[in-house]
């Protein structure tokens, strides 16, 4: 039984589906955080911030360049934080190409086109006591609101944050604020090696068993969690990415092979995901 009833409304029949907004947010801040990472906060129209952890928005990244190439499609970004009452949305993003470069040029007060909330988010169950969150890189952004929701529902989170180097360990404080026990692992001292992560997880699980695993941002970690999930009989969820055009299930460009009901289907990440069960997703 899902905790968030705004997830339940996604189910068809009877219940009204969650509305999708296409509007603009006003940039409140857009700051460089560390490395290629930026943090944006927006004030959005009423109702638009009524989202769930793991859902995402499609951003119109406009750039001033008649001469050079321009982003044509919107760019999908997970919610890093949402606040329905104060109509706030936050995003944590990494500059990787055309669209995110344009995004970093927005200044306070600018209007940014947003479509959302989109997709199926994470599901928490009321009987759960303890979850594991393993995030790497920008996957942190996706998992931060999950820790917050767990905290609100009295579910304890143990969080493993992985990054290339310590300065890229974003938002550790956010997880701590939500009462999570946070372990930090980095490539620079090799603490992020899969063997070490496995050791950590097994240790935590032995001390205080997990009810579910959650991950995002690393194929290696996905693989590890899939194995442990099977072995330890702990269910899990993963948020995955795929290039998108429409973002709401209309164009079929964002498919991934998903194992469901014994066969592999090409499911739409934007519509059937971005969150899938661990056992449904193959690492690649």
């Amino acid at each position: 039984m899902p905790v968030h009833d705004h997830l339940a409304v996604r189910e068809r029949g009877g219940v009204r589906p969650q509305p999708i907004f296409s509007d603009h947010g006003r940039v409140l801040r857009n700051d460089h955080v560390a490395g290629e990472y930026w943090h944006m906060e927006l004030e959005v129209p009423n109702g638009m911030a009524d989202a769930a952890p793991g859902q995402f928005y499609q951003m119109m990244c406009e750039s001033r360049a008649t001469s050079g190439p321009m982003p044509f499609l919107r760019r999908p970004m997970s919610i890093y934080h949402f606040d329905r009452q104060r109509r706030r949305l936050e995003f944590l993003y990494k500059i990787t190409g055309l669209g995110t470069t344009a995004l970093a040029q927005y200044r306070c007060g600018d209007l940014l086109g947003l479509v959302g909330p989109l997709g199926v988010g994470f599901r928490l169950q009321e009987l759960w006591k303890h979850i594991l969150i393993v995030a790497r890189g920008v996957g942190l952004a996706t998992l931060a609101p999950l820790a917050e929701a767990a905290h609100q529902h009295g579910i304890r989170s143990t969080v493993i944050l992985s990054a290339r180097s310590p300065d890229l360990l974003l938002s550790k404080d956010r997880f701590l604020k939500n009462g999570a026990a946070v372990s930090v692992i980095v490539d620079t001292d090799r603490s992020s090696d899969v063997e070490n992560v496995e050791r950590l997880i097994r240790g935590f699980h032995a001390a205080y068993p997990f009810d579910a695993f959650f991950t995002c941002g690393s194929n290696r970690l996905l693989k590890l969690l899939k194995t442990l999930s099977r072995e330890l009989n702990v269910s899990g969820q993963v948020a995955i990415e795929q290039q998108m055009a429409c973002g709401l299930g209309m164009c079929f460009c964002c498919v991934r092979p998903i194992e469901r009901g014994g066969r592999i289907e090409q499911l739409r990440v934007c519509h059937d995901g971005p969150v899938f069960a661990l056992e449904e997703v193959n690492s690649w």
């Binding site: 509305p19 296409s22 321009m70 479509v115 055009a245 429409c246 209309m250 164009c251 498919v255 090409q266």
Partner: protein
């Protein structure tokens, strides 16, 4: 008050705005009330299910989008059982888009979708991804005549023939479709295109080539609508790069009776109601009582008195 209704053959639409096939699904109802649209055209279906093309399935180009979705479809039985009822519940004219590999298959699928409630059938005789190297029925007048004739014999529903722009003579093909018995033309589908990643030298699409849509193609398609409008008497529905009401006005002035919005839905899923209200306002501001006054306005112009300004 502007009367926004247009007639497409025997069918009257409450307004000329509808989605292009493959660019909208019932999900759009979560963004706005779809009942305000003139009609609804779902994604093309085929008889037998297919998975579609390998990813990446889209690539951005300057003011354009390349796609090689490849017509993934759950197949006709699934469509009839699970999808069509959802669309029919919208209460606006549903024009079912169908695709097939042969004239007989086309006739067969058209016969099967000729169900009560279905307002018309759009025959996608143009999809550039389907046949080898992008060859499609609508690339030639002869093959167009043949397939439309076969379909005409199979159904009494209105037939909208969706033409391909990948031909040297769209007007000839348009005439053939009309002769074959089409009730309207959709001009046009996507242009066969390609993009290469200069870092890897690999095609940006999993399927190597794909269809180009979006604002980039609009000037070519406007010319095609203008040519077809002079060649046939059946109504034309424009499709190609429509982003706003001005684009619809441009196409209608060139001779179109209605407009399909495709790629623009991906950039803004709320674009069609916006186009609709802007189009109404455009007519209002100019004192046009009927949106139909726009149709063919440029065709009917006398040559400019002096072109050297």
């Amino acid at each position: 008050m502007v009367n926004m209704a247009v007639k497409i053959g025997s069918l009257t639409l409450q307004n000329p705005i509808m989605p292009g096939s493959g660019c909208c699904s019932d999900e759009i109802d979560r963004v706005y009330d779809v009942t305000q649209l003139g009609a609804f055209v779902p994604k093309s279906i085929e008889i037998v299910p297919r998975e579609g093309n390998p990813v990446p399935r889209v690539a951005e180009t300057p003011q354009g989008l390349l796609n090689s979705i490849g017509l993934p479809t759950y197949g006709l039985p699934y469509f009839l059982q699970h999808q069509l009822p959802v669309y029919l519940r919208f209460g606006i004219p549903i024009v079912v888009s169908v695709s097939a590999g042969t004239a007989e298959e086309f006739a067969s699928i058209c016969r099967q979708v000729s169900l009560p409630g279905v307002a018309g059938i759009e025959i996608n005789i143009s999809c550039p991804n389907k046949e080898e190297g992008g060859r499609a029925f609508a690339m030639g007048a002869d093959s167009t005549l043949r397939v439309v004739k076969a379909i005409r014999e199979a159904t009494s529903k209105p037939i909208w023939a969706k033409l391909t722009p990948n031909t040297g003579d769209i007007a000839e093909v348009a005439v053939a479709a009309e002769a074959g018995g089409a009730d309207a033309l959709v001009v046009a589908n996507t242009f066969l295109g390609m993009a290469i990643d200069t870092e890897t030298f690999r095609p940006k699409l999993g399927n190597i080539t794909g269809g180009l849509s979006g604002p980039a193609i609009k000037p070519i398609v406007v010319r095609m609508v203008y040519q077809c409008a002079q060649a046939v008497r059946i109504p034309i529905i424009a499709s190609g790069g429509i982003m706003n009401a001005a684009d619809v006005v441009e196409y209608m002035a060139a001779g179109a009776s209605a407009a399909q919005v495709g790629t623009a839905n991906f950039l803004d899923p709320a674009v069609m109601p916006k186009i609709l209200s802007d189009l109404r306002k455009f007519c209002q501001d100019r004192g046009f009582g009927n949106v139909t006054e726009l149709i063919g306005r440029t065709l009917r112009l006398e040559p400019a008195t002096t072109l050297v300004a």
